[in-house]
């Protein structure tokens, strides 16, 4: 039997449709994460599992019984909820707060039994908050507070735990600590974890399964590798990203791309680079809003790759091929169009030397030139002194400057 099964769920808030045609089922012991942009219905989906929102169609089953049919107390025995924030103005001790998690098991006239106290101790050990038992809930840190609330959820011996952005307001070390705990419980105790996470990378790291929502509809369901693709994320979140396996867990890692920090376009800059020497400057200058053009590069070159990621126009040659006369002419045109030229500290051989010597063309004599790290030019000269010679000529021009101040 599935722990949670949702069939054609539909939720409307007034005239607005929040969820439509949501169908999914979650097996015991799985760590499932719901992702999607703000307002896509993630929290509503979670709250419909606790019957906190009124559905307009479909059904939600918990262990085979429709949640709305379950008495509050019965549901609480198998389902626990950890909210994003627990703002409380009252100074309960942390022990009292965790004991509240036993409410559904405590009979009014009997009070707490030994078992209840034991489960509270166990839960506090599990989330590592035993040392907080007599401290006031209002006087501990946000990370501690969230761990106490997690202990409260676990004290009720639930089979399913719902987490609504449980780590959004926490420092990184607490985010990891809480998610590690949940993952461990899902593996060791077969606890079913259903979380809403804002951070796609955390979702990728911890989830067995990811449910992607867009405008109230499920648009992706499956392992992180299947759902968290560049295409899916760019479509659903309407932003450009780079996805590559994380060096930490070999799960998809999502890098957000900036669209540039500044709206107004600045001067045109031309970079003479190669072998990765231009990459850091390209990143910085692009985000500062400069229009960039770059010299002739061989396919597969590090700078060539960066250029490709930015989607900038490029002049390319096959790997190790020399610069053809056509490329040389095209390069000259780019140089003439530029407002200034930046010479990056790259290595030169006879193959790419024309990228440098082109600066001696008479038509470029008036161009502003910035020479970066010119003092090491001899070390980077694999073209029989040509590089040093060109640097010397350039540095004697009145419109040439050493170094570049970006900010």
């Amino acid at each position: 039997m599935k722990d949670v099964r949702i069939e054609k769920l539909e939720v409307n808030f007034g005239p607005r449709t929040v969820l439509q045609e949501v169908s999914l089922s979650i097996e015991k012991g799985r760590f499932v994460t719901i992702v999607g942009p703000n307002g896509c219905g993630k929290t509503t989906l979670l709250r419909s599992i606790t019957a906190a929102v009124k559905k307009t169609g479909g059904a939600v089953y918990l262990h085979g019984t429709e949640v709305e049919q379950l008495a509050q107390r019965e549901r609480a025995k198998s389902l626990a909820v950890v909210p994003q924030n627990t703002d409380v103005a009252y100074e309960f001790s942390c022990y009292d707060v965790v004991m509240m998690g036993r409410y559904a098991h405590i009979k009014r006239w009997q009070g707490e039994q030994i078992k209840d106290r034991e489960m509270v101790e166990v839960a506090m050990m599990q989330t590592n908050v035993a040392y907080l038992r007599d401290r006031k809930f209002t006087e501990i840190s946000g990370g501690e507070r969230q761990r106490v609330i997690l202990a409260q959820a676990l004290a009720g011996e639930p089979t399913v735990v719902l987490l609504d952005e449980p780590v959004s307001n926490l420092d990184p070390q607490y985010q990891i600590e809480i998610l590690d705990t949940m993952k461990r419980l899902s593996v060791e105790k077969k606890l079913t974890v259903i979380a809403v996470l804002h951070d796609l990378n955390l979702a990728s790291m911890y989830s067995d399964e990811i449910i992607m929502l867009q405008a109230g509809k499920v648009v992706g369901i499956g392992t992180p590798e299947v759902v968290l693709t560049k295409e899916n994320i760019e479509r659903v979140f309407a932003t450009e990203v780079l996805v590559s396996p994380s060096p930490v867990m070999n799960k998809p890692h999502i890098y957000a791309k900036s669209k540039g920090f500044f709206l107004d376009e600045k001067e045109k800059l031309h970079l003479i680079c190669g072998g990765g020497s231009g990459t850091p400057y390209m990143h910085q200058l692009f985000h500062l809003g400069y229009q960039l053009s770059v010299c002739v590069l061989n396919e597969g070159d590090l700078d060539w790759q960066t250029l490709k990621e930015f989607g900038l126009p490029m002049l390319e040659e096959k790997p190790f091929a020399p610069i053809s006369p056509e490329s040389y002419q095209a390069h000259l045109k780019l140089l003439q169009a530029a407002d200034a030229i930046i010479v990056c500290p790259s290595y030169f051989s006879p193959a790419n030397l024309p990228n440098l010597t082109i600066l001696l063309e008479p038509v470029l004599a008036e161009k502003k030139v910035y020479l970066l790290a010119s003092e090491t030019s001899a070390d980077r000269d694999f073209a029989a002194g040509e590089v040093t010679r060109v640097y010397q000529i350039l540095s004697q021009r009145p419109n040439c400057e050493q170094g570049l101040k970006l900010w």
């Binding site: 008495a71 509050q72 609480a76 909820v81 909210p83 409380v88 100074e91 559904a104 009014r108």
Partner: protein, 330 residues
């Protein structure tokens, strides 16, 4: 920890005992402690009549009513998550008065004779007013703290005006009606003590056993629901029990304000926010406060009396303003 808690309970109960003793000791006639002892245990003591027929029922009634009002106040503050509410500020006491007055004027109170009939109608009045205030204070499903309080005050004024009009229209019953606007324990007798004990004590005990729910409600309604509390049912039970207590108090002693407001605050200051302690100690403290207020009212302007309801308002008015300002700065 345990020692400190035990000390709190012991201290509160000792204070109550002391206040009861003061209530027995002072009044129109001062009775020495030794004479109280004699009046209680020896036949033929000259103060026996005063002790058994006047003083003892009066302090007992004050204690029971004070306890009921205070535990109701603590419960209301828990349900509405608002430190400024009690049966008085929410208009329940006024509503109970109106219920009783209407019953007297229309004559329906004679259907159920005696004080218990009146308290039934007072209960209905309290419940109806609470429903009205709740509806007025509730905007789009949200119960804002200030709106609720304003609704309570507006409804209280409205009801006070209504009662004034009823007094003008029924001059022959005016002396019966005026009593409701000024809560007093002067008319205490054993019948009233009995009724108060039968209704208020069991209701208070039931309220006390909801301390868990009240604790959890302070985390918000949804969190409480998620933990398994049937909040709708719990609130309904708590409010009906509260209305029963308030109705009975008003039917017996008229409108006595602010006891339900200040007692829980005094308790929280010393004992923290855990409702298991707050509810129990509020009842004890409320009893102490009302008995002391009544005793003070008897002593201050001897041989006349200041009604207990006036005394509590005089004492608690400034306190209420202090709480309001404190809440503002938070």
């Amino acid at each position: 920890m345990v020692k400190k808690q035990g000390f709190l309970y012991l201290g509160a109960i000792s204070l109550l005992m002391l206040s009861l003793l003061l209530g027995l000791r002072f009044g129109a006639v001062n009775i020495e402690i030794r004479e109280i002892w004699q009046a209680a245990w020896q036949d033929g003591s000259k103060f026996q009549q005063i002790f058994y027929q006047i003083r003892l029922p009066r302090v007992l009634l004050g204690a029971i009513m004070g306890a009921g009002l205070a535990i109701t106040g603590a419960v209301m503050q828990g349900i509405f998550q608002n430190p400024l509410v009690d049966s008085y500020t929410l208009g329940m006491s006024s509503g109970a008065s109106l219920g009783a007055v209407l019953a007297i004027i229309t004559g329906v109170s004679s259907l159920i004779p005696g004080i218990s009939g009146l308290s039934f109608f007072a209960f209905l009045g309290a419940l109806a007013t609470l429903a009205l205030v709740y509806a007025l204070g509730n905007t789009k499903g949200k119960l804002a703290s200030s709106t609720l309080l304003l609704a309570g005050i507006v409804v209280s004024y409205f009801i006070a005006a209504l009662i004034s009009v009823l007094m003008l229209l029924n001059k022959n019953k005016i002396d019966k009606i005026v009593f409701w606007n000024m809560g007093s324990l002067a008319a205490a007798n054993w019948n009233k003590v009995l009724l108060a004990a039968i209704v208020i004590l069991p209701c208070s005990l039931l309220l006390y056993y909801f301390w868990r729910e009240l604790n959890m409600l302070s985390f918000g309604e949804e969190a409480a629901k998620n933990l398994g509390v049937n909040t709708t049912k719990a609130k309904a039970v708590l409010l009906v029990l509260s209305a029963l207590i308030v109705g009975t108090v008003v039917a017996i002693g008229g409108t006595i304000g602010f006891v339900g407001l200040i007692a829980p605050h005094i308790v929280r200051y010393f004992a923290g926010v855990h409702n298991k302690k707050v509810l129990f100690l509020s009842a004890i403290t409320g009893a102490t406060v009302l008995v002391l207020a009544d005793t003070l009212g008897r002593v201050l302007v001897k041989p006349a009396e200041i009604p207990a309801g006036v005394m509590t308002s005089v004492i608690a008015g400034p306190f209420f303003i202090y709480l309001l300002r404190k809440q503002k700065t938070n």
